[in-house]
């Protein structure tokens, strides 16, 4: 996809829907959405989304670009795929929400870097890219300390009993982080993928 929507500075952009149809992963099928509400009704955390997918798609059509890219809906999706399985128009709702989240990051919206889920996503990706695995301790630590040292320490202490419980039941390990076999190959692969994306869409 393109790195940026045509006019990133615009709050409202009547061309936004067309751009999403053409550039966002699954956006071509979003054009077929008939506003039935099955997706938002299927969502296990639907009540914790400010808009939910159906309304978000309507907002895209209405050109409400900033409201869409600062919505918590794109970050709160837990990838359960309930909506994708049930959508009568086979709209890949999950892909669209995730790709809109990357658009929000690229366009530099504060919500896209400061929300809880954005911070967690970043920590997750850091571990996955570095080790080829997610290490529970490191991901959690990275996420907690993204709020600053004091806040991170507080969060860590508050959740210590959970961590101890997890260690006891062997859900969290001590010692060296889990790693995949050849992390060097992994970073080459990721670098290449980034190059390809940059070249393809510039």
């Amino acid at each position: 996809m393109n790195a940026m929507s045509p006019t990133p500075s615009k709050k409202y952009d009547l061309d936004f829907a067309r751009w999403v149809y053409d550039n966002v992963d699954g956006g071509d099928r979003m054009a077929l959405c008939m506003q039935c509400g099955t997706c938002s009704g299927s969502c296990p955390i639907g009540t914790q989304m400010d808009h939910g997918p159906r309304k978000l798609f309507m907002m895209i059509r209405a050109g409400m670009k900033e409201a869409v890219l600062t919505s918590n809906t794109i970050w709160n999706c837990v990838s359960c795929y309930n909506c994708v399985v049930r959508c009568p128009r086979q709209v890949p709702v999950t892909y669209i929400l995730h790709d809109l989240a990357t658009v929000a990051v690229r366009e530099g919206y504060a919500q896209a870097t400061e929300s809880d889920n954005a911070r967690f996503g970043k920590a997750f990706w850091w571990s996955a890219a570095k080790y080829g695995r997610t290490d529970e301790r490191l991901v959690t630590a990275k996420y907690y300390f993204s709020f600053g040292f004091g806040e991170g320490y507080k969060k860590g202490m508050a959740n210590l009993p959970i961590a101890l419980g997890m260690i006891k039941t062997k859900r969290m390990h001590l010692g060296m982080p889990h790693k995949c076999k050849n992390t060097g190959e992994l970073s080459k692969l990721l670098k290449k993928a980034a190059e390809m994306e940059a070249k393809k869409h510039g």
Binding site: C36, S40, N82
Partner: protein, 419 residues
Amino acid sequence: MSDTTPRSRTILVVGGGIAGVTAAVEAAEAGHDVVLVEKTATLGGRVAQMNRYFPKLCHPTCGLEINYQRIKKSKRISLFTLSSVATIKGGPGAYTVTVKTQPRHVKPNCTACGDCATAAETEVANPFNYGMDKVKAAYLPHTMAFPMRYVVDPIVAGTAEGEKIKAACKVGAIDLDEAESSFEIEVGAIVWATGWRPYPADRLTAYRWAEMPDVITNVEMERLASVDGPTKGRIVRPSDGAEPKRVALIQCAGSRDLNHLAYCSRICCLASMKHAAYVREQYKDATVDVYYIDIRAHDKLESFVQRLKRDPQVRFVKSKPARIEPGPDGNPMVCGENTLTREVYAEPYDLVVLATGMQPSLAEDDRPAIAADFDDYGFVFPEGESIGAGVSTGALDVSMSVQSATAAALKAIRVVSAG
């Protein structure tokens, strides 16, 4: 086909629902011989299974009775029930068709007195009521059956009970030795009027029709509301026989859905308006919630929707429900998002009716290789020698089916008159 091939001016109509019956009488009254082949034991098709039908909420007898009279008067129509087409050879103007007939075990001299049914003990699932109740193994398909003749289920042939049933018939109409038979006919044109069947509700897993007795389909609702249905016309919950206070109707259950039927089934919005009316006529206090994507009331039928909208106890909720969950008391709970208010709801009901759509009744394996074309959904694609009438060609209501059947009769007449 060479010019010397003898041509037949007889028209074969496959399927004896309202469309097939109409095509047959129209062609016969225009002077053509017609062979009408019906798979079940009686004419009438799905219309006979309706409680009443829109637009005027008349009883199905209105439409069927007059056509039965026309068949009786006509000397040109040969009717074969319990029959279907096995093979077709030849081409337009000269088809050779093999028709297969299942045994009815009851001869035409049956007077429909019902003594055989009194004698019978074994019960079998009643297809007329979609299996919601049972009938005796000697039964009349339904009160409007044509021919008005009993059927003996093959299950009792060769048993002591069978002999008892046979002995009970005073006119000696029962023939337990009747076997499956087949015969060939020469016809010039074939009209497919094979109709529809309800989309299987068990495939809509999120709506739990198969698990929850108080989640029913619209065709089951028609039977519940009918005086000759399993509850003698009382709309009650299948689980405990209680009168429902809160009823939900769910539109587009399996229609307009790429995972099920991609097309709009066209009649189910109006069928649900009937169902809201049935409930409100029976129960003063009952409320009905209609869950819809958009209400599609075709043609002149908008006024029917408006009539129900004026009833304060009928509520319209713009939402396609995501799923049905068992509530705390086991009652069905309809869950989804109200798309006008953005509220995520979970509403408990006593009875939920799924407005399941119509799919072509001819299954893929039964489709003939010649004399008919089919579209992507399995509906007859009418062009050239491929002639369809009624819902075999697409989702239609009764009046549109009748129009399409009249058109089909005309096309068939053209085919047999050509050359």
